[in-house]
Symmetry: C2
Subunit: 212 residues, 2 copies
DNA sequence: AAAAAAAATTGAACGCATTCATTTTTTCAG
DNA sequence: CTGAAAAAATGAATGCGTTCAATTTTTTTT
């Protein structure tokens, strides 16, 4: 049976996360003061730091949730991709983009990206890049699936192209988070143009009729 | 004739920038305290803030110098690119990479990237992205030059591919700055693999002999 | 059930970027 | 040269994330 101590710990953890998440959503990550989070969670500032390493740690918890859900959804696309290379890539990337503002605001994303770059040796950063790598791998897996099926040229370097495409979708997403006025639809359109440019190059070479 | 006031202002400006640059190089951007910079520049903390908006402003001055020099060098490559698409892209990108640690450390780059993402409405950010855009445009210009010359397919979307390639070289560079142990040679090799994957797709279609 | 040990809570104190009211220096009109 | 006005310099004060020595609560031991 869970002891008092254990139960209280779980309750406080939840309480802090809930309070932080709410405040981040209301006033933003930067403007959310630790005192305010602690107060809302009915805990002292010192106790807050007993539960979370620092402010960034809170953000990481939320980012992890977001990316894990999106990875899960992405699996379905990779398992059964649309018919054309263009449609398949757009389907996967849309999965990512469309989910992106469910738990996080643009400001929270910006902060997460900034923190991950600035302090690479931090647990925050390590975890963030683990998630990034998983997404990039999913893009590569999609490309490989398309190659096996003959939708795109087999001689293309799927790993390299997966990395390139992920870097690009990431850069476009960063641009999206940096423009508060930009709607998701604009992001999708930009991505569609880039995907079209790439898939235009990826069509398999025509094979002479009757060739083995 | 320049008055006393004007002359002193210029001298102090130079003094602060020199002191900051030296300290950044010695102890890093984050560890460089404003008091220390001010003291080294023989100026009070208050005066420091009279000359620079904030600490990031110092970094921006150094980043600007770096990127401007590299853009200048890049022009030469775009004006007279190597014979193959692969060699041309590698030449341009190497120009960027090889210059990158002249004025800045990896930590300074990381900080600059992080700041530019985190506070997009800041003068820092605006200037940083102006520089980024200029670099991306240079990649696109190179591609267009190669198209005109027939080195790569004319039906490719140069603007989109330029953006994709720039996003990728940027992502690889970010990875480089985040690994203190990684040498420039590793970065170049990664980029070479990606460039090879892309240029493999960019070869112009064979034209039947004798076609107009 | 009392005492000792272990674990967790607490808020005052610290470091550091930035701000601001006050003082000093420079300019310039008379 | 003098005194008023303008500009710049100054360092103490502020805000905020994080740390830590002291206190309180919970668990274990006897």
């Amino acid at each position: 049976m869970a002891g008092l101590r254990e139960r209280q710990k779980a309750k406080r953890n939840r309480s802090i996360l809930t309070a932080a998440s709410a405040l981040f959503g209301q006033v933003g990550y930067e403007a959310a003061r630790i005192d305010a989070i602690a107060e809302a969670a009915e805990v002292s500032v010192g106790t807050f730091y007993n539960y979370f390493e620092n402010k960034a740690d809170l953000l990481l918890a939320i980012v992890s949730m977001e990316v894990e859900e999106v990875l899960h959804q992405g699996e379905a696309v990779v398992a059964a991709p649309p018919a054309t290379a263009e449609a398949a890539l757009l389907a996967l990337i849309s999965t990512y983009y469309d989910h992106s503002l469910v738990y996080l605001t643009k400001e929270m994303w910006r902060t997460a990206m900034a923190l991950s770059i600035q302090h690479p040796e931090t647990p925050f950063s390590r975890r963030y890049f683990e998630l990034d790598a998983a997404l990039a791998d999913q893009v590569t897996a999609l490309l490989r699936g398309l190659q096996v099926r003959g939708t795109i040229r087999r001689d293309a370097d799927a790993a390299a192209l997966g990395a390139v495409i992920f870097a690009d979708l990431n850069a476009l997403f960063a641009g999206f988070t940096m423009d508060e006025a930009m709607p998701l639809s604009s992001l999708s359109m930009q991505m569609a143009a880039h995907v079209a440019a790439l898939t235009g190059l990826l069509a398999p070479p025509l094979r002479p009729v009757g060739a083995s």
